[in-house]
């Protein structure tokens, strides 16, 4: 068991390097940006937690034989440092995944409930699991809204009046159906719409690209 513990030790160095790499990713996440998800992080998280328990159980069992201060020799502290590094890595990874889940949930509320409504550059940056999470979350929101009877994700800001004036800045697909009539959102046209209809389009304003593609731009500027 001593040999097993010693063989597990070279992993400490690797874990230290990994740990520092992960902490950098935390810093990126802090800036509010969407880092490209490292798929190996999610899988390494499950691997790490299994490894942590396995290795520390094996090394602790060996140390537990004489659970007195006199028996806590150098190997015990080496194993302790190793164990703590693993726990730390686990914490970093879990915090990363947790914060990304927060962002995904926030996306569902702010931008739209359909996965395809998200701009493609954000869709690229979500893992498959996160897309599943997004779908499940929006399904849950929809069923709740259906039961309650009101649309909850329409007004994030308390409204002043029910109708607003908008001007279409970008190009939108023709023939959008708005509650009671069909409107043509041609460029630079001004409309007087109900707030509930216009809000999803406003929230989805894409950034100004250098070569706007005519099919997906939905730019509306409210007046």
């Amino acid at each position: 068991k001593l040999i097993a513990a010693a063989r597990a030790v070279p992993r400490v160095n690797k874990k230290r390097r990994d740990r520092i790499g992960h902490v950098r990713e935390k810093k990126i996440l802090r800036a509010g940006r969407r880092a490209t998800p490292n798929l190996s992080i999610a899988s390494s998280l499950t691997r790490l937690s299994k490894n942590a328990t396995r290795i520390t159980i094996s090394s602790r069992k060996w140390n537990k034989k004489g659970w007195m201060y006199s028996n806590r020799n150098a190997d015990h502290y080496g194993a302790l440092v190793h164990h703590l590094s693993l726990i730390r890595n686990k914490r970093c990874l879990m915090a990363y995944v947790h914060n990304r889940a927060d962002i995904v949930r926030d996306l569902a509320w702010r931008v739209g409930l359909e996965l395809l409504d998200l701009p493609p550059e954000i869709q690229d940056k979500l893992t498959t699991l996160e897309k599943e999470y997004f779908k499940n979350h929006s399904v849950a929101i929809k069923s709740y809204m259906g039961k309650v009877g009101i649309e909850l994700n329409v007004d994030m800001v308390p409204p002043k009046d029910p109708y607003i004036k908008i001007r279409v800045v970008g190009e939108i697909d023709q023939g959008i159906v708005i509650s009671d009539k069909t409107t043509n959102f041609t460029r630079h046209s001004m409309h007087f719409l109900k707030r509930t209809d216009a809000e999803p389009y406003i929230a989805r304003v894409t950034s100004f690209t250098c070569c706007p593609s005519p099919k997906t731009n939905k730019l509306i500027r409210p007046l």
């Binding site: 513990a5 940006r33 150098a74 502290y77 304003v205 007046l223």
Partner: protein, 185 residues
Amino acid sequence: MAKYYYDIDDILTEEEFAPVLFHKPANGVTIDPSAETNSVEQGAKVELPFWLAHELHLRQAVSINLPACFDQKTRLEIQADAACVDLRSRCPYFYEFGCKLQPLVTDRTLGILLSTAFKIRYKERLTKVFTATHLTASKFLPFLTIEETNLYEAAHLSMTAFKKWRTGGPRFQRASILGRKRKES
């Protein structure tokens, strides 16, 4: 405390290094860069990240000394004029780190130092938030620690919201998640 476990600021605070004196040897770990073998001798002085130092301190394997960012030079500078001290280059999580260190280190003056520095700087920041334009603000913003920057941003946001409410600006905005155009790598 569950909410600190996932908190990124807390994780980054604990990454700060603290010098530590080992009371017990530890085998098989390459923490000490000056050791030839991959072990730490008893009595070795090593710089460890705070999370490791804290845990080892609880198990009485090490004793923690004050890191360099709280040393005499910083104290003198804070006593001279706290508002202009560049705390971010010393330690971006000055206050949080100091708060975590305070019960572990045998130095009673750390708490007093932190609170006086914070009080003076806070007053200074608040006045700057309301009076400074964007140009002058960029001069002293790099000197703030992360906690102070958060406070500053919050005050700034509330002030702009107030001004917007007074003048009645546009109430709809694009979702801030889509706000920043990312540089494609």
